[in-house]
Amino acid sequence: MFDYLEKQLPKLIMAPTAIAMLVCMYGFIGWTAVLSFTKSRMLPQWDFVGWQQYERLFANPRWHVALDNLLVFTLLFIIIALLLGLMLAILLDRNIRNDGALRTIYLYPMAVSFIVTGTAWKWILNPGLGIEKMVRDLGFTDFEFRWLVDPDMAIYTIVIAAVWQSSGFVMAMFLAGLRGVDDSLIKAAQIDGASTFRTYWHVILPVMRPVFFGAVVILSHIAIKSFDLVQSLTGGGPGYSSDLPATFMYTHAFSRAQMGLGAASAMVMLAGVMAIIVPYLYSELRGNKS
């Protein structure tokens, strides 16, 4: 009897986790999906209305603002973070012997909450007392920096704060990748007479492709999930000009008693994440097999 129990032990140990995953991940996703097809407002109501919530969603101007913002934010965030991270990694790689201190400095922003980041940058970008005042005090009395309260520019403040927080991580990834490049490749290029620039361009960067992809996947994942930063930096404002899908979902599901709509927006977010993750995982697994 005990022998049988012992044999089943591995399965028994994993059972709670398996059940939790089944219910709290996949089950909940299903629940949210079903809810998105109902008329639910403040409480779940199981009156099915087909795709109505999705139609309402895509007819909602605020949702379109959120989607546009997501596109702008994600593109800028990824591109700037990649370039910055890559540049820092390249500069660090060959030039500094004891780069521990510098690396620590570039990475510490990741250790703090997005709320702290948002709070700090909210102050730095404060119209009137922040950067604007500092530059004006230096003599440029006409300098204006009011992005935080400008509906057209608010989203860019989020880009700035997000890049500050996450580019260190990209740098760490690239640095690890660069350090993993086979030395003999570089030596061969040098013997072939390639300049440092060409060595990087033709030899090293192509080898780093998987790191690029990994970084893009992670950054886009961070971008799509961005909620904390928006809440603390702009609150989605002014108005809803810096709204993102995550804040849209939260506001409608919880503050505005629009559960069905909120559920629909969550499902769209999931679809977006899946569209990136699934092909990536698939190609990774296939690559590993071959």
Binding site: P109, S113, N126
Partner: protein
């Protein structure tokens, strides 16, 4: 060590300068937070953000800690700091223990469907939590845990286990199976092998898992803001409330002091054990 040509030395100096400049830019927000927190309000309004404080005025700090208003109450951040502690410590401990046992099973005691299970877990690390927010609220209400600290602990454990399992599984896979075989022949069972063979080897990954979980949970805002109520909020929610509450004039020094208080635990952990933190990030992320 090759000696560098003059132009190479110029380049090197240029690169180092760029690196240092960026380091200053990265440090700037922390610098601003600290300096602002030690200034008086008039100083803030008349000076500029990069100036050093005239004197080290700690009144903002005491106010942030014990009397600032966070929405309805004005008890400062202190009670919410302790809320976060009460949430983080059990959640980190439980999710690490479960992750370790799960990782042990998935790496050494494969059974039919264990790979599938691992894949499902891995997948779960990527989902945006917006899709589970509503049903989880229902579940917590049904369990009688809505707006409670144990409720938040439960949520963090459930969604943290996917990561901790990943960490431990990837680490334990590197331990040779022959050790398990030798131990089985020696008469050790499932738990005995874990206790005597795997656990002693686990220090590095335990550190990674604990640091990662501590940072994630302490810094969390989404779960905190949805699943806590007045009195049970974690410090991130309280900070956000504090900063966005404008009762009377805006006290930027208090805001900054509060932000530093909220950031301090994870910053300290990072400075003390940072390299393990990085290892955890890149291991979990790159391995995917």
């Amino acid at each position: 060590m090759k000696s560098l040509s003059t132009s190479q030395r110029h380049y090197k100096a240029l690169f180092i300068t760029i690196l240092v400049l960026f380091a200053l830019v990265y440090l700037a927000p922390l610098y601003v937070m600290l300096t602002t927190s030690f200034k008086g309000i008039e100083e803030i309004r008349s000076g500029n953000i990069l100036a050093l404080p005239e004197t080290l005025n700690v009144s903002a700090w005491t106010k942030a800690w014990s009397s600032a208003c966070t929405g309805g109450d004005c008890y400062g951040l202190a009670p919410y700091f302790w809320n976060s502690i009460r949430i983080v410590l059990p959640a980190v401990f439980i999710s690490t223990v479960i992750g370790a046992l799960n990782g042990y099973v998935l790496s050494q005691w494969r059974f039919k469907g264990s790979n599938f299970l691992f894949g499902a877990l891995l997948f779960g690390c990527f989902i945006p939590f917006q899709v589970i927010l509503l049903p989880m609220a229902m579940l917590l209400a049904w369990l009688g845990l809505a707006n409670t600290v144990p409720g938040l602990v439960l949520v963090h454990v459930i969604y943290g286990v996917a990561f901790t399992t990943l960490f431990f599984r990837n680490y334990y896979v590197g331990i040779p199976t022959e050790l398990v075989r030798a131990a089985r022949l020696d008469g050790a069972g499932f738990f005995a092998i874990f206790r005597h063979v795997f656990l002693p080897l686990s220090t590095p990954i335990i550190v990674v898992s604990v640091i990662w979980q501590f940072t994630q949970i302490w810094n969390d805002f989404l779960f905190g803001v949805v699943y806590s109520g007045p009195g049970t909020q974690p410090i991130t929610v309280a900070l956000n409330n504090l900063v966005n509450t404008t009762m009377g004039g805006k006290e930027y020094n208090v805001d900054m002091a509060a932000a530093v208080i909220a950031a301090l635990p994870t910053l300290v952990v990072y400075l003390v054990a940072g390299k393990y933190f990085v290892r955890g990030l890149t291991a979990g992320a790159v391995k995917g």
